[in-house]
Symmetry: C2
Subunit: 469 residues, 2 copies
């Protein structure tokens, strides 16, 4: 993150540092270990998650270090000199396997795997969870909105309602999920995204009447003019004035791009607006709708009501991942000192999968995703597996084409990839097309099959013969 003016080492939970010092002092620090990142529930009561945030995480992990101010601060918090000396030269030197950013993923899959010594894995836990949980949440929301809008472009307008500086990450993730343009200049600059925007009510109010405000805007931006029409009254004032402005633009060889509806009933307003524009010979002028939109309202407008809206502007509900507001991803130790580890927990659904694993996806002959199997790294034949992940029974599926979803993305603490956002977004689109519709519906969705391999099931069963069970 070129815009963070500090060493990012303090971007962590206090207990990570407490434990790191503990590992350092107990001699545990040189033992190898493996952590998995996974989530347990799809947000939005949906059927999938779009994995996002990998690019940011790799950049942050690569530059993760402690400056002398940080060390001084930690000293004031009681950390010991020998540990602080170690922290001063600390860099993450491990490796990270991950599915591709933009991939369609499902609950319990170890989407990303970190290998290293336990101090380095522990210290990056917080920032890794913070970024992956949030960007995956918003990319998933954006994908749902994009699906609902069908081929109509969606613009992101959310910075003013996003969660503080989280707006920076939200915009990146929204574009991965399928949003075309953003109003967020900061993120557009830093992540090379496409900008768009119109004008606010204050522009209209800053002139003595609406028509003057429209004319002045058209004069300055004759080739990119979109007019906000609801400041006084959309149908009685906004649209008639927009039509006058459009006709004047035509005289100078330009064309009004669109009008923006920002309140009222979009179905009836867009129908009336379209009729008035067409009547005036302005069939080319587009209608943009914004205000409290989400995937449900857009689906209704597009698929049920066939409202004549050409573009959607989406803000708050997209950038905050409303109503879920978070993805429940966790980062759990699966191997330590070459031995598989498992957390039991009071709730069985919160127990973890031990050992070094991989994710294998099986597709039908047409390429459509059929099921995934979480397997031990060296597993070969995966036709038989246990499903579901918790309390599974044995299933057999033959004749499917398989693909290992992991890539090595970081080695010795150095990033091996740096994928442009547009490319990640295209990958998301291609992958989502391979996911059958039954998993993408907002209501009555099917649950995608994710199983565990026979050897993984056996390894887990072994742990449950512990004295406590």
């Amino acid at each position: 993150m070129k815009f963070i003016n500090t060493n990012i080492g303090l971007y962590t939970d206090f207990y990570e540092l407490t434990m790191a010092q503990g590992y350092f002092l107990t001699g545990q620090s040189q033992k190898n270990c493996c952590f998995d990142y996974f989530f347990r529930d799809n947000p939005f009561n949906g059927g999938y998650v779009i994995f996002a945030g990998l690019g940011d995480v790799l950049e942050l992990v690569e530059s993760f270090k402690f400056g002398s101010n940080d060390i001084e601060y930690l000293k004031s918090q009681g950390f010991r000199d020998e540990f602080l000396k170690y922290l001063k030269n600390f860099r993450f030197n491990g490796r990270i396997f991950s599915v591709k950013e933009g991939e369609v993923v499902f609950p319990f899959e170890p989407v990303l795997r970190v290998e290293g010594n336990i101090i380095e894995c522990q210290l990056i836990e917080t920032i890794l969870l913070n970024i992956l949980n949030f960007e995956s949440l918003v990319a998933t929301k954006a994908a749902r909105i994009t699906e609902a809008a069908k081929d109509k472009p969606v613009m992101e307008f959310g910075l003013r309602r996003s969660q503080g500086f989280g707006g920076i990450n939200a915009t990146r993730a929204a574009v991965i999920g399928g949003i075309k343009t953003t109003s967020n200049v900061f993120s557009a600059y830093h992540y090379s995204l496409q900008l768009s925007g119109t004008q606010a009510h204050s522009w209209i109010q800053a002139f003595d009447d609406e028509l003057t405000a429209f004319r002045k805007f058209a004069e300055i931006y004759p080739d990119r003019c979109i007019l906000l029409v609801d400041t006084y009254d959309t149908i009685k004032s906004g649209i008639p004035n927009a039509i006058i402005t459009a006709k004047e633009l035509e005289k100078s060889g330009n064309h009004l791009i669109g009008v923006r509806l920002d309140s009222g009933d979009f179905f009836s307003l867009s129908k009336q607006t379209r009729a008035m524009l067409d009547e005036a010979g302005l069939e080319y002028v587009k209608i943009i709708a914004s205000n409290q939109l989400d995937e449900y309202l857009i689906e209704k407008l597009v698929s049920e009501q066939n409202a004549p809206i050409d573009l959607f502007g989406v803000g708050t509900r997209l950038v905050t991942g409303y109503p879920s507001a978070s993805l429940d991803g966790v980062f759990k130790l699966s191997s330590f000192d070459n031995k598989p580890r498992l957390k039991f927990s009071e709730n069985f659904s919160k127990s973890t999968l031990p050992g070094i694993k991989k994710i294998v996806r099986f597709s039908d002959q047409a390429g459509h995703f059929h099921h995934d199997v979480i397997a031990m790294d060296l597993d070969i034949n995966l036709n038989e597996f246990y499903y579901p992940v918790l309390n599974g029974k044995k299933h057999l599926f033959e004749n499917y084409i398989f693909q290992n979803l992991y890539n090595l993305t970081m080695e010795n603490g150095i990033r091996l990839i740096d994928t442009p956002i547009t490319e990640i977004s295209e990958y998301r689109k291609a992958r989502l097309e391979l996911l059958p519709d039954e998993y993408k519906r907002f209501e009555n969705k099917n649950i995608y099959i994710v199983g565990v391999s026979c050897s993984l099931q056996e390894l887990r069963d072994g742990f449950f013969s512990y004295p406590y069970f």
Copy 2:
């Protein structure tokens, strides 16, 4: 924000820059104007909002400028040379009136008022909304949680699930709302907050058995040892091992601070845990609960079930302001070139209050808040007013003590205040105590009275005699 390594001018919506160039080119830029920040709905279906974010906003506005990279980028986006020359030297030179940070505020109140030329007001709109909306949301959530916990301290653990870099702001706001300590080292360092933390399941799993893990932790942190007891089985393994560890600590003259329950049924687990600890003579060992807590669950545990829990750790639902996820604050032009302005809108509830205003709070003789009146800046006698704000009727209240809630917080673009977070949190506490309980209940709350003064009502009525109405 000392940690943002860039000029913050690009942290704005694209249309702010588009409009700013428009104002610049149409000669509107030198006319004075006034914008109000206000919200329309209390989040969480609650009865109030804790106003937060002011300190961050003042710092960001004071340092708001465009660097040469930013100017170059804007040139590539089609902005004109004469405007870019203006932007290069741009600084906010206006003034800001505001209620105190930590104040209890209500819908439609112009909580903060910005005066300046229209370009400077417009350019800071996005960052002002972004910070105030989010920090007020989280401070309000934190206040609700703190109220529910009564006198039991609450710790914030949310960074891993917060919305990307929004976690930085979330922690600041949580402490304003009443949270005692945080796990977020980054924010603790930058905002001088108090840290706390225990250990994760990975610590327990990194040793061959739970007792060894506990002993090692106690050895390193004998004076601040809290043990996480649910890795294998809370009652059969975690608590017995914690008791052994506590007894060993006693021998070296130390005391186990607490045990942390992180899954299962908190009511029954805390009762059993308390009994087992007491039985072992460990009455002083505290019980800490964490996992999916919010104000409702804490209220149930504390007030209904009287569960023997001494501290709460709260994460996701606090730092994301779940389930509201956003506060709907807006920034609207109320005066331009010395003339009051008003936005109508298709939805009457979205119309605005014109003119230069103030907020006056009326309290009873015991100091308890009774009602607020939004008034014109020069209004004197406010015993008569219209209530509610929309479609109000005339009311008369006499014999209440009044207080003007505004303070001048910025003049000529220079901050006049820089209040420490602890002081803001104490102010929030004192003010919330003056708000009667009926407005603080989670269910069946009363609605606090906010009216508009007679002269403000008259001014607004004048606008509605416009031809469209």
